[in-house]
């Protein structure tokens, strides 16, 4: 035990004096203990990896800046840094809760994305184009009423004012427009659902 502490201290001194290999030995020697310690607190491999990395970045910077006080306690010192970073991690996560999706419960089973995926978007575009083409096939008077009612969201009163026909005529044209559309759809077996 004493031997190892001395060795750590010697390695730290060597590292401070420019021996990069000393750091490699130190990391190799203690990585498992430090990594396991972090993992035992956070239980997530990716987060453990991040905290492990941040721990050693702090270690490297402190050693290179010459701010390290060698008291023969390299490992406890590194553990303390890791511990503080674990606390920082939990503090940060309390402020911004994160849902871990690795367990049995999947947050995406209750949350859904309302935007369409690429495939559904393409289907939707196709359906809309098909409908527009069918509408273009209608007689001009019916098409006019249908466009005003469905696409411009106008009332039959407004349509009658604009086209100069009675409301009943506009209603009739709308009715025939829909009947004709259905006929064409049925006749050609067009599927307009996504």
């Amino acid at each position: 035990m004493q031997h190892e502490i001395l060795q750590d201290a010697a390695l730290v001194t060597n590292y401070i004096h420019g021996d990069e290999g000393a750091l490699e030995i130190l990391i190799t020697r203690h990585k498992q203990k430090i990594y396991s310690f972090i993992y035992s607190k956070v239980y997530d491999r990716d987060i453990t990896e991040d905290i492990f990395q941040d721990t050693f970045i702090k270690v490297i910077r402190t050693l290179k800046r010459g701010s390290y006080n060698e008291e023969g306690k390299f490992l406890p010192w590194v553990m303390r840094i890791a511990h503080n970073l674990v606390i920082d991690h939990f503090r940060k996560n309390n402020r911004m809760p994160k849902f871990d999706n690795s367990g049995e419960f999947s947050i995406f089973s209750v949350l859904s994305d309302s935007t369409l995926n690429a495939e559904k978007q393409i289907i939707k575009d196709q359906v809309e184009t098909d409908v527009r083409r069918l509408v273009d096939e209608l007689p001009e008077d019916q098409k006019e009423v249908l466009l005003m009612r469905i696409y411009n969201d106008m009332s039959f009163k407004e349509i009658s004012d604009k086209t100069g026909v009675s409301i009943n005529t506009a209603l009739g044209r709308m009715r025939y427009a829909l009947i004709n559309l259905r006929k064409i759809i049925e006749k050609h077996n067009i599927v307009l659902t996504n």
Partner: protein, 48 residues
């Protein structure tokens, strides 16, 4: 009913190690980092 004792999780904890890339990153970071002393001030420089 007999109680079940398991050492699985403890064993698992003992086999944990950081990824090779993480260690390599740290070693490279250490090589790239140099601290410049200038009138009692310290500057860190990452030189690749």
């Amino acid at each position: 009913m007999a109680k079940l004792y398991t050492n699985d999780s403890i064993e698992k904890l003992n086999n944990l190690k950081p990824k090779e890339e993480t260690v390599n990153f740290l070693l490279n970071y250490s090589k790239a980092l140099s601290v410049i002393n200038c009138n009692k001030m310290k500057f860190e420089a990452l030189l690749n």
